[in-house]
Symmetry: C2
Subunit: 151 residues, 2 copies
């Protein structure tokens, strides 16, 4: 038997008419302290719709943006992968530690998606000065759009 590692939700992604926010569960709200001093954060979330044997056994795929290109899932950001853990960097619009609410522009995740971690965006860790990408992505923007992503 391989080792297994257990994660628990620390909050959920909420999509409402007023926009998108992260709702952090009560016991984890103290961990939000001073997060508002950063401009961006990385949301680590669990793609629960792909937490099944079929999605978790996919190792290669033709991504929607390059349908003629068979690639390994580690060379994509697809949510179907052996461990369906996803990361999304986004701008922080507002942090309210008391209510556990973090307002963000948008996110590529459904309403109710579990969040497993939040990490402040540290340029020294996360910001690559010269990054090369393959031909089939060459027309994509070179920077994360501040208005966010998503459905």
């Amino acid at each position: 038997m391989p080792k297994e590692f257990k994660m628990f939700p620390i909050g959920h992604i909420r999509r409402t008419e007023d926009g998108v926010h992260l709702e952090i569960l009560d016991p984890y709200r103290p961990a939000m302290m001073l997060l508002d001093k950063f401009s961006h954060l990385i949301v680590v979330w669990w793609a629960d719709e792909h937490d099944n044997e079929k999605s978790r056994s996919v190792t290669q795929t033709k991504p929607p943006y390059a349908e003629d290109k068979l690639t390994g899932v580690f060379a994509t950001r697809a949510e179907y992968r052996p461990n369906p853990v996803a990361i999304t960097t986004c701008k922080i619009l507002e942090v309210d530690e008391e209510s556990g609410i973090i307002r963000v522009p948008n996110l590529d995740a459904y309403d109710g998606t579990p969040i497993v971690d939040l990490k402040a965006y540290f340029p020294v860790c996360d910001r690559v000065k010269e990054a090369h990408i393959p031909d089939w992505l060459s027309d994509w923007p070179e920077w994360m759009p501040d208005e966010g992503w998503g459905p």
Copy 2:
């Protein structure tokens, strides 16, 4: 009972006299296909030394680089946090799909640390043009060092 999400190792971090590499387990090697077309990747790893009740119940800390600053763990990159999942961006030096070896410059993780996911670095997802950080980090570099990090 809160929901729980299970992850399994897809490989391990190896530190040898010849440098640092990622060793991907056999069933997951097909997922490495075309990863070599990217300059950088994000290693998602499990801080197994902190997978215990004590480390996982920490919500606030005084980080080593700002010992007078009590912050929430979500405002840090500390490995002790509710879900000890860590992400490290690094340069890709060499990918060998057959042996499952990915050579990287350095990594802030011990020899034998389990890897749970790999994600190609997509500038459009991960590269923030203007990121603001707090005063206590203001003397840190603005970019990830290509020579890597670590012990």
